[in-house]
Symmetry: C2
Subunit: 497 residues, 2 copies
Amino acid sequence: MSEQAGDEAARAARIAAAYDPARFRADGEAVVALLAEALARAQRREGAVLPWAAPEAAARAWAHDFAEAEAGGARALLARVIAESHHLHHPRYVGHQVTAPLPLAALCDLVSAYLNNGMAVYEMGPVATAMERAVIEWMAGRIGFAVGPGGAGGVLTSGGSAGNLTALLAARQARAGFDVWQHGVAAGPPLALLAAESTHYSVARAAEIMGLGKDGVIPVPVDAAFQLRASALPAALAAAERAGRRTIAVIASAGSTATGAIDPLAAIADFATAHGLWLHVDAAHGGSALTSPSERTRLSGIERADSVVWDAHKMMLVPSLVTAVVFRDGARGHQAFAQEASYLFDGAAEPPWWDVGLRTLECTKLMMALKVYVALRVHGEAFFGDYVDHVFALSRRFAARLAASPDFELALPPAQNIVCFRHRPAGASAADLDALQARVRDHVVQAGHAYLVKTRLPAGVFLRTTIINPLTTDADLDAVLDAVRAAAQQAQQAQQA
Amino acid sequence: MSEQAGDEAARAARIAAAYDPARFRADGEAVVALLAEALARAQRREGAVLPWAAPEAAARAWAHDFAEAEAGGARALLARVIAESHHLHHPRYVGHQVTAPLPLAALCDLVSAYLNNGMAVYEMGPVATAMERAVIEWMAGRIGFAVGPGGAGGVLTSGGSAGNLTALLAARQARAGFDVWQHGVAAGPPLALLAAESTHYSVARAAEIMGLGKDGVIPVPVDAAFQLRASALPAALAAAERAGRRTIAVIASAGSTATGAIDPLAAIADFATAHGLWLHVDAAHGGSALTSPSERTRLSGIERADSVVWDAHKMMLVPSLVTAVVFRDGARGHQAFAQEASYLFDGAAEPPWWDVGLRTLECTKLMMALKVYVALRVHGEAFFGDYVDHVFALSRRFAARLAASPDFELALPPAQNIVCFRHRPAGASAADLDALQARVRDHVVQAGHAYLVKTRLPAGVFLRTTIINPLTTDADLDAVLDAVRAAAQQAQQAQQA
């Protein structure tokens, strides 16, 4: 055998080993066992929620030059990854709106990752494309949109930010009054969006990406419950006009990120209709409440939106990222990326629904629908409605206990499952409260007792919890409060010492 | 027990069952076994590459209302998903630039999906954040950027389209000459980008999303090898000026989607430098060639780019989506989403590297780095260089056989691992050639013999193959040609009958 042939044989052997089905199966079983054990540990409330390491220390610990192969090192490496990552399945994870995924949904992601069906065109993901249609139609039905020929349609995309951008691109093309896609934003009057001052940053960011500028988002005040004041919309529209801007859309939240507040959708829809504006509802968090017969009425009016964003990776219990962008008029989805819209406006046939890449920011994308579809079929829609009812009720009970505690202050009654509060230990001065919340939170989180976050409201800094893990109990929430109290005491003693 | 308490207990039992570690482990082992069997079947070349179903038939087959739970149905459902999906691990998959992922990388996605560490801020994904830094620094080193304080930096994002958008947003803010982020595109002169007429559609789409319009992309002609003609850049710049547009950037490809052509990066960099333009290199496909000591020289000049996009899910053998956006000056990454850039321009400290959400389109995102990091550590960098050498050599041999076949026409010698050709059976009229390629391709694909695509070049419609699967052999490629020949004969007989 020549040297070259020998090299080639060695290379082929390395490739064959990397793709060996038996090795895959053995590694796979080992990884599944590691994850099942992590899940059991989390349910026993063992270990830290977030195993704290400072960023620079973590960077040093994982720095690598990748020069040498470490064949056989995969399992140990993944065990370390699992041990040192944030444990969202721990029932005292009550932080950002990211879910403790259904284990079955994680297995669906394994299938997606292996199959790697990229979905830009139908052939690259036939099952995923069909499932995406089924999931979008189900969501459209829950929103209250008409489904079927000429009815609602939409896409799944990589997160709420991409989703809001996709919806607002469709709004820009539909309502600018000139062909922005062809000639650019500079070819017409400056454009504006109306959005609550508390709207998620991704809406302002979408406007800025689209070339509207920060000045292109006209803030609308909110009331004491952090809901957009529909009565303030006319003044916001007038402000845009005075600034020489043409308003194209109004954005409502259901619910907002900081507090979970649900804007008065019906009143906002009345305003949008009266002024010919596109109505976009960011229901990234709250969309899943549409699965609950008792909670869905709070989102009444959402069926009048032109576009809705709904994150399945928040309250549909699946891993990130699965964001649905649902259009009341499905054909609008082609306008978002309007290089294709010539098909529509030429009066020719609509481009086929099954080449999803025409309607998404992504060209190749993940088989996102799979985990939502399988979770819905295996567990049934009522499972999700039950889950929503459960965590919403848990949140209300938690809020009631906070309101009744002399050493805690509830920011507002929760509209959904986001509860904001602050600790006011006896003797704490009002001036120190903001710093105390931040200090206490960092201590609780870095000690691994629980994971919660903070937010700045007009009254100051508040602790913020999202009761999103289906296994969180009243006792877990009480334990979080006890950890906060203990951290505050420790901080006080440290100051006195 | 009251009715309400009974309902609550039943709900808790359903949730506990869905999150049962033992059930997860059993389901996980079953799913891993299904995938290992699919991998073995693909390696035996059993079954169709793409099990063809018409889109409407697939939609009907998977339509569902999700009203009832199908507990226990998960495994059967996933077995059906695997059977009916596109089999990229089949060695006769030679279609779009989507990879047959390393099985270990798919397991990493299972870990990511279970952990669901969302990475918007450091706390939400400490390990993933540290790994992302290691992967970006490794890539920056391969590109030839300086790494370390004040050096290169970047992010991983959800695909090449999002990656090109991210890079061009940074270019817009850096080179527009006014604060686009604050005031919008309409506040200054119309902007322009220079890009080869054959540039991937995501570049034009990014310009259109950013409000520059289709008119904002000035096409630069390509030569016979489909490389951007550097000598045509001055005329393109002059055309933008005549149209009243301020040119901010020039975009080069390495390699292009249709043919894999690598633009003359050094000559383009000279032009960009001379005119103060941002140089963006879309190396989504070709970036991985930087791992090969013998192939990397073809990308010489890439180290002079301001930004580079490199898809790990193409030639780094990991599942979609992992796109790196690497900036020569890492601080530019904060400018892409410049609401945060006030930190920079105020002269204050740079925002911390570890809150990745400040620099990505996504807020919550996937633990994308994990699979790249683990694959690199377990297999070592040289494995990937070997793989690149292997498929590039395979492509050159395939091209040589095509050039020597009287009944095939090679479009051009392949620059990388994309080979375009067409079938010219004896007696076929030149006028029918385009239709023949399309008909033959559809037949081969729908019969499941192989998966290849087509592309339109100036000379007409060509069949297009990407030799991306590490297990594809010379014999597999010959089998693809035989399938094409057989399909053409069948078509001819059908016409004569």
